[in-house]
């Protein structure tokens, strides 16, 4: 997933063609030289910790009893998969991922269209306004949402007491579903701009002449949208969804701040945190982290292989491919 390595491999692919000119060879070499240092750094800061965690996950290892460290092979994983606590955290994480990404995609699309169509004079201000939540640190936004809804300090119960179901006595964080809704709302509020931004880039890539041509052929607005704009944006949409889904699956801050995992709101990242940081059970915690990583890899794999997300979209080659794909549809 190293972005730094992308140009290098792309050039490597080019160089794999039968005829290698002096120039392509030199380009490939230059590519490796430019990307090499970054590649080495990525290996040191990602590959090494991942390998170490995988290794540690095969041990029963508690930081405060270093002498009792013991090789137990896959026992940590067996414990995980046989424990409802793990499955509950997994399902909660999955639920948060599905719900937030779906809502963000719809909202993000609407915002992207607004930003795309906005008058030139308004465009700058509008984009800034929409992007503000994304610029806020997650922990800060989590605290803001927490204090808004908290039964002791929050104003929501007070302001919205006329809404059926909301009263001064409603403890939002004292119940699984209300707590989860707020956690998801906070996530959606914060990261919709990210999706909107990626979709806006996609919208800008849709060639104006195609829309013009559709108009001339008598396509209605919704037909233009579903038949011309969306197919031409497919790559951008898939990239946005994939990135956001990977991000959402690793949710930690909001849950940590708002409920700390109470009321059955624990997510996988928090479970890993509690095993390795609170309990100092390095082995068990590493196992949770490895499973979390495997889930993320699996999502990547599904997206890339099954939905054919092109992570190099925007480069010359993929644009040509995307255009071709769009034309076919």
């Amino acid at each position: 997933m190293s972005t730094a390595a992308v140009p290098a491999t792309k050039r490597g692919v080019k160089a794999g063609k039968p005829v290698k000119s002096q120039r392509t060879k030199a380009e490939a070499r230059l590519g490796w030289m430019l990307a090499g240092p970054a590649f080495v750094v990525m290996l040191a800061v990602t590959a090494y910790p991942i390998a170490q965690a995988t290794f540690d996950s095969l041990f029963s290892y508690r930081l405060t009893t270093p002498d009792e460290r013991e090789f137990i092979f896959l026992d940590n994983y067996l414990l995980l998969f046989s424990d409802w606590t793990f499955w509950r955290a997994f399902l909660v994480t999955l639920l948060i991922t599905l719900v937030t990404v779906a809502i963000e995609l719809v909202l993000g699309f609407a915002l992207a269209l607004v930003m795309h169509r906005a008058l030139k004079a308004l465009r700058g201000a509008l984009r800034t306004a929409i992007l503000v939540p994304y610029a806020i640190i997650t922990v800060v936004s989590a605290f803001a949402w927490y204090f808004m809804f908290d039964i002791n300090s929050g104003f929501v119960n007070n302001w919205f007491s006329w809404v059926p179901g909301i009263s001064a006595d409603l403890d939002w964080f004292g119940n699984t579903w209300t707590a989860l809704s707020i956690i998801m709302a906070a996530e959606i509020w914060k990261t919709t701009p990210f999706i909107a931004l990626l979709l806006l880039a996609g919208l800008a890539q849709v060639p104006g002449e195609l829309v013009e041509a559709a108009k001339v052929d008598g396509a209605t607005r919704s037909q233009q949208f579903t038949r011309v704009i969306i197919p031409n944006m497919k790559a951008a949409i898939m990239v946005a969804v994939l990135f956001r889904a990977l991000d959402a699956f690793r949710i930690f801050d909001s849950v940590f701040v708002m409920t700390g995992g109470d009321q059955n709101t624990e997510v996988l990242a928090l479970l890993a945190y509690r095993q390795s940081i609170s309990r100092l059970e390095i082995g068990l915690g590493s196992a949770v982290s490895v499973v979390l990583f495997a889930c993320v890899l699996l999502m990547c794999f599904i997206a890339v292989k099954l939905f054919k997300v092109d992570l190099a979209s925007g480069t010359d080659q993929s644009q040509a491919k995307a255009k071709k794909g769009g034309a076919e549809q």
């Binding site: 606590t85 964080f173 609170s278 068990l284």
Partner: protein
Amino acid sequence: MKRNWSRAAAAAAAATMVLTACGGEDDVPVLTWYINPDDGGQQALAQQCTDEAEGAYRIQTSLLPNDAPAQREQLARRLAAGDSSLDIMSIDPPFIPELAEPGFLAPVPEDVAERTTEDTLEGALAGAMWNDELVTVPFWANTQILWYRESVAEAAGLDFSEPVTWDDLIEAARDQGKYLSIQGIRAESMTVWVNSLMESQGESILVDPSAGAEELETNLESEAGQRTAEIISTIGSEQLAGPGVASLDENQSMLMFQRDNGSFMVNWPFVWPATNAAAEEGSVDADLPDDIGWAEYPRVDPDIPAAPPLGGINLGVGAESEHPELAFEAIECIVRPENQTEYFLTNGNPPSSASAFDDPAIEEDFPMAETIRDALDHAAPRPQTPYYNEISESIQLNFTPVSGVDAERTPANTAQYILDVLRGERLL
């Protein structure tokens, strides 16, 4: 280009020289004291003892995170990694065994132990021990007492000159339609409460706290455990602690106590200066402090004296410290009774030494000092075991939300939960 390089190199060289100049300013050994956040009292003591040492050492403080479990996490990780900068550490008592057992703490020299514990209050001393040995030096000790609104007590006809029981409080709050300020949040405070309810019946949570992970047994399934769960469940199911019980920590329960529906509260002494400050500021009624009374921690059984919670901070020295002798010298300076008195007056944290309570200034600022002192003599530490964190988190998980506590099932479930976690048969 070349010129730029040489310029950068010169700058780097200059920076190094400045740095070494700073470091080599004096040859006084620097002791790092990892402190928990307070109102600046530990920083002031560090300065004072540095001055008194006249060049023998210099104490430099380093701030730990806000809550006790996070402080433990940082200390444990640093100690496990062999960090030599842990010269002096402010440690919350329940986490001491976990750090002492693997030999992370330097042994307290006998003469230091003798001098620093001459008149330490019993509860505080118990919290500083592991395997019958003093492994840390008691610095300040905390305990909870019962705070009540005189107006509510009068209306309910409760006489606080005699010990009261939890049943009395529950009944009074129910009759008066007021809220009981307890700590119902899923946090360390829940274990504090459960432990005191158990200890107040003469039972401990663990049968033998020094047992290993495989052999640990709990007393939760006893009658005392059921009685404990019954008290908590009554308060929870009847909503006697208000609708926001799931987020009531020490601070929130104090705020609830200050409001009109406040009645009785179990809490640490910090509430007194905090309430007075709020009254002065005008965020609560100016005459609210006059309506507040205090008494010993509520009993469970009218005939058995209550065992109030024990908190506080003890000072330990890291096993890898480069200057353990100096560190203990500095600790002796820090915990001198007059320093403990000063710390109580300025920061509101009660002394662990009996004679530190004798200063007349204390009576003036903390009229309840006598009650606190007595409570510290009866206070019971939380289970002293290297697996405290697991036990505490299991209790927190099972005893929250308080409305879901069941007198029959919760203690048994908790006991089973603790055993499963410790034997590596389930996650936490």
